[in-house]
């Protein structure tokens, strides 16, 4: 995602009756741990 000129900076989320939960995410560039390693389940298709 990126911001777009003239569209502001707030993402609106409307929770519907079908809401189950939020899947945790983190930015790929934010390396975790001593070696910045990722596990395979983090990078395969959801």
């Amino acid at each position: 995602m990126r911001s777009v000129d003239g569209q502001g900076a707030v993402l609106k989320v409307i929770a519907g009756a079908d809401f189950k939960g939020v899947r945790p995410v983190r930015a790929e560039d934010e390396l975790e741990g001593e070696f910045g390693a990722v596990t395979g389940d983090q990078v395969v298709c959801p």
Partner: protein, 420 residues
């Protein structure tokens, strides 16, 4: 990728299959003497280390495939992909460390395999080791730089890569941003893509997708490896003797390996890795220094980080995991940090407290929520659609294009297609 990938799968794919199925298959492997006359080698650690090398060999690819996947031209037989795959002693984990091809390297003294000329130890790029001294010098150089003892050498080229992916039935790759590279012909839209071998090769070869160049390519290669592991372990190929034999024959018929790598090794690993899954694998790239080094006549090289890189290789030698141990829920990697995104949540239902619950969950994973959910009647959970969205309320992706569910929605997907 001039990929070592297929070799990992060879290891994985041996799981659970009877000895009779694989016995004799290794007679088709092209052998290389990767460990000839090696002295002063690092001490053995726990687990097993495989040096996976990908070259650009393309001998048996058809002219149609060469044209379709931009594989024309003569191969340079370069090693653009170099990885160390560490299989843990308990066979529960595979750690993959990518070594950039432009890494600054000290090539040990050797005799040029082509010219016969004797060379003293000298600096170069790490992939020059293969050009000057083949698999043997490549192993010696990697061991010299990492102090990790290499137990086996496996080499994959374009041909074996394509065949292996195809015989597995392809792989599924997701991208949250459009990926294009005119050099390889890669052209992927945002979303999920089922790729055959040729398309996967385009994906892992592409360097000019973004500014990350070879580092971005290594990341995509790691994603591909994870996808391939997922396919191999979920498709039933490990439990189907006929399919397994087909895959193994395809693989072993096109790779090059050291003389010591054979059926018994594959069976040993395969039996131990029956429970393998994508989460059993971990991927990283050797830590680099901010400053590179330019070598006269060679060009710019990448220097490994003087303290972090040795620690990484220490961990491999000591058979320690590279990724943090986690009991947390699965975390999906996304392009943009959720901390950069401000979110306003509204409750579109009559369910009391739903807005607050969503707000709390989004905040828990890093979004900057307003903490003041409102109320907007609607039928379904709505947000900016597409995989580029940094979060996905599970099972609630809207089916229709997102238009204007609210007045305050103010972010656009990187495709630029969405409008508020």
């Amino acid at each position: 990728m001039r990929m070592a990938t297929a070799c990992s799968v060879a290891v994985l794919v041996a799981a659970g299959i009877g000895h009779s199925v694989v016995t004799g298959l290794d007679t088709g492997i092209k052998r290389v003497d990767a460990f000839r006359d090696m002295k002063n080698r690092p001490a053995s650690g726990n687990g097993m280390n495989v040096l996976l090398v990908g070259t650009d060999g393309r001998d048996k690819i058809t002219p149609e495939e060469k044209a379709k996947y931009r594989l024309g031209g003569a191969p340079c037989h370069c090693t653009d992909t170099i990885m160390i795959v560490h299989i843990s002693e308990d066979r529960d984990r595979a750690s993959v460390v990518s070594l950039p091809r432009d890494s600054y390297a000290e090539l040990p003294a050797h005799t040029d395999q082509n010219s016969g000329k004797k060379h003293r130890a000298h600096p170069s790029k790490i992939n020059a080791a293969y050009a000057e001294g083949g698999p043997n010098l490549t192993v010696r150089t990697v061991e010299h730089m990492t102090k990790v003892k290499i137990d086996h050498y496996l080499e994959v080229d374009f041909t074996s890569f394509i065949k292996t992916v195809d015989v597995l039935g392809g792989v599924e790759i997701c991208t949250s941003r459009p990926l294009q590279d005119s050099n390889t012909g890669l052209n992927l839209a945002v979303g999920t893509h089922a790729m055959n071998g040729g398309e996967a090769l385009q994906y892992v070869r592409s360097r000019y997708v973004d500014g990350a160049s070879d580092l971005g390519r290594m990341r995509r290669q790691q994603r591909f490896l994870a996808a391939l592991i997922a396919k191999a372990t979920s498709s039933g190929v490990l439990l189907n003797p006929v399919k397994f034999r087909d895959v193994t024959q395809t693989l072993l018929g096109s790779v090059r390996a050291d003389k010591g790598f054979g059926t018994s090794d594959m069976l040993d690993l395969g039996r131990a890795m029956r429970g393998f899954s994508p989460s059993s694998s971990e991927f990283t790239t050797v830590p680099l220094s901010a400053e590179g080094q330019t070598l006269p006549g060679i060009g710019a090289t990448l220097r490994w980080h003087p303290t972090k890189a040795p620690k990484l290789f220490d961990a491999l030698r000591e058979d320690r995991p590279l990724a943090p141990h986690r009991n947390k829920p699965r975390v999906t990697l996304v392009d943009v940090s959720p901390q950069q995104i401000q979110v306003q949540v509204d409750n579109g239902t009559a369910v009391p407290g739903l807005g607050k619950r969503v707000d709390t969950q989004l905040r828990a994973t890093g979004f900057r929520t307003t903490g003041l959910p409102g109320n907007v009647p609607t039928a379904r959970t709505r947000r900016r659609p597409g995989p580029s969205s940094p979060t996905t309320p599970a099972g609630t992706a809207p089916r229709r294009p997102w238009r204007r569910p609210c007045r305050a929605a103010r972010c656009a997907a990187s495709t630029g297609r969405g409008r508020c």
